[in-house]
Amino acid sequence: MNHDPSKTSHYIGNQYYADLVQNYSDWQGDDNEISDPILRESCRRFLEKEARLLESDRHDDWLGLYAPECLYWVPASVGGGDPRKEVAVAFDDRRRLEDRVFRLQNEYAWSQQPISRTVRLVSNVTVFACDEPSIVMVRSNFLITEFQAGDKRSYTGWSGHRLQDRDESWQILVKQVNLIDCDQNLRNPSIIL
């Protein structure tokens, strides 16, 4: 049966979790790095576009970068941990990601009143091959500076994007955001990283 992942959540299940943990283990081996500069440039442009959309609060366009069955994952433990047994800072499937955007666009989300301004630096983009030829894994470092209500703070760490080849560009299957302080108490973590 076909399910609309924006309405019901069927794809997150035992198989999905097992594959996720597998896909995010030991994927950054030197032997897997793809040195092709054109491919790297294409991934870099895609990640910069993602950052630009978030900087300008174009959340619906940002959602458009994601596959219908996608995941936005901010682990609360270094190395990612096992999301079947641990809570995460965020573990959003398609519907919850739309929930998150819905809430950010709701004027009664007090944690985002006023709305944060952000500037996002993306660097050290490195592309890795995986078992499936149409999918690449991309590691990039980020520094997000957030300004809200007179206060300037930052988030930093690295992301692991699992990208599917789509019409000369990419579609995000999974974005894992690894904050360097993911296991510490965070102040108002309500922006999308």
Binding site: S9, N14, A76, P83, K85, V87, R100, Y108, W110, R187
Partner: protein, 442 residues
């Protein structure tokens, strides 16, 4: 000393409670030293020699299960020059060696050796060189508490009638227990009491959490998920707030929900994986699936153990004052353990759902509360505007009842629990507790 009789009145409290550095310093002694303070959960240190770092007020401590199996709370402070002897959050060790000069202590706190002892004229078997430790440490069904006050009542008496909902919260799980499984860790720039004031507050829900309520019900034609029962007239709903004494309070939303298997699961908002797992569990377990899904659902209670332990939903939330205007609020997730296979092999599925149900509120609810707490702290900078009101329900006839055990009950949005806990707070702040550390290792 501030005049607490003036600062805490029947219907209101003074802003100084949230803004005065001296009061905060006194609280770290008279409250976070003199009453039973929650420190850790036994599932975090299941085996002998396990330890976890924590805080008793601002005091850095190590909660250990020593080599003999005794729960101890050691000061994380070398007897020699004061450096912390433990710097790793959690682990397993028989001894702590100070990184500074190498003094080494057993996990019982006893000094086991100092480098080049011939350079000292002392007898190092003297207990004065052992690590300081909290003299009274007790666990209530896995929740480990400690106090420096030898005159404090037993932990069971301290918890008093609050034990009933704690027992019920535990007993809904297989084996009557849960295990801690990582945490959603948040903090806010505000005084710790702002969070404790809020923890049984049914008045803020539809205002502070307006975006969450809208989000949880955005795909429905009528609001029926999550905390939708706060809409319209929450005071006429069967839910209630209670005050138990010793500062503990309780908001019980369970009466809003039909008492039958599956009713809790039905009001869960949307969470990742829920439909897929539900179909699978129903196919495998038949009628039993409802009970299993209820265990994956959030329990609609807020059990608030003064001063720092808030059991709500499936979370064990801990308030940790950092300074007068900084507070960590850590939402430990809990997992189900099913040693006797009561869930017929579904425990891993239940936990996979439960992790996701637990992420919802910290992500989409608590962040809005924390912003409101921060904005109270901002507002309280207005020095001449002195009072904070907590008088909702006060003087309204027939609204509040007191039973034969002294348990006070009011409707869902009543602030009676705040007024009552503030009376206890006043009593504590006016007291002169004698705080003791222990060094003898017994």
């Amino acid at each position: 000393m501030p005049d607490f009789n003036h600062l805490i009145q029947e219907d209101r409290v003074h802003r100084d409670l949230y803004t005065d550095e001296n009061i905060f310093k006194e609280e770290m002694r008279k409250i976070f030293g003199a009453v039973w303070v929650y420190l850790a959960h036994e599932s975090q240190i299941p085996e002998n020699d396990d330890y976890i770092m924590s805080k008793l007020g601002l005091r850095p401590i190590i909660v250990t299960r020593d080599s003999g199996g005794t729960l101890r709370v050691l000061y994380n402070r070398c007897t020699h020059r004061g450096a912390t002897v433990c710097r790793k959050e959690q682990g397993s060790t028989k001894a702590f060696a100070c990184p500074y000069h190498g003094w080494t202590f057993l996990n019982s706190g006893k000094l086991s050796g100092v480098p080049w002892p011939e350079g000292y004229a002392d007898d190092f078997s003297d207990a004065k060189f052992n690590l300081a430790q909290v003299p009274r440490v007790q666990s209530y069904r896995g929740f480990i508490f400690g106090t420096l006050n030898l005159d404090a009542p037993s932990l069971e008496d301290y918890l008093g009638p609050a034990r009933t909902p704690v027992d019920q919260w535990l007993d809904r799980h297989p084996g009557g227990k849960v295990a801690i499984s990582n945490a959603n860790r948040l903090k806010f720039s505000g005084n710790w009491k702002l969070a404790y004031d809020n923890s049984a507050d049914g008045y803020h829900v539809i205002f502070s959490h307006r975006s969450l309520l809208a989000m949880e019900n955005r795909l429905l034609t009528e609001d029926e998920k999550g905390m939708a029962f706060y809409k319209d007239k929450p005071d006429e709903a069967p839910m209630y707030v209670q005050y138990f004494g010793n500062g503990h309070h309780f908001k019980d939303k369970r009466p809003n929900i039909e008492n039958r298997p599956g009713a809790l699961w039905e009001i869960e908002g949307p969470h990742p994986g829920m439909e897929g797992y539900e179909e699978d569990l129903r196919a495998r377990l038949g009628d039993k699936a409802d009970r299993v899904l209820d265990i994956a659902s959030s329990e609609p209670v807020n059990i608030n153990i003064f001063p720092n332990l808030l059991i709500l939903g499936n979370h064990i939330q801990v308030l940790q004052p950092v300074s007068m205007t900084e507070t960590d609020t850590t939402w430990y997730g809990t997992a189900v353990i099913d040693e006797d296979n009561e869930l017929e092999g579904a425990v891993d599925d239940v936990n996979a759902i439960r992790m996701r149900t637990q992420e919802g509120f910290p992500n989409f609810g608590e962040v809005d509360d924390l912003m409101n707490f921060e904005q109270i702290q901002e507002g309280l900078a207005a020095e001449e505007d002195e009072w904070v009101y907590m008088h909702r329900g006060l003087g309204v006839e027939g609204r509040i009842t007191t039973d034969e055990n002294g348990v006070i009950t009011g409707p869902a949005t009543d602030e009676v629990f705040m007024r009552e806990y503030m009376k206890e707070y006043k009593r504590l702040m006016l007291s002169e507790p004698e705080l003791k550390i222990e060094r003898e290792v017994t």
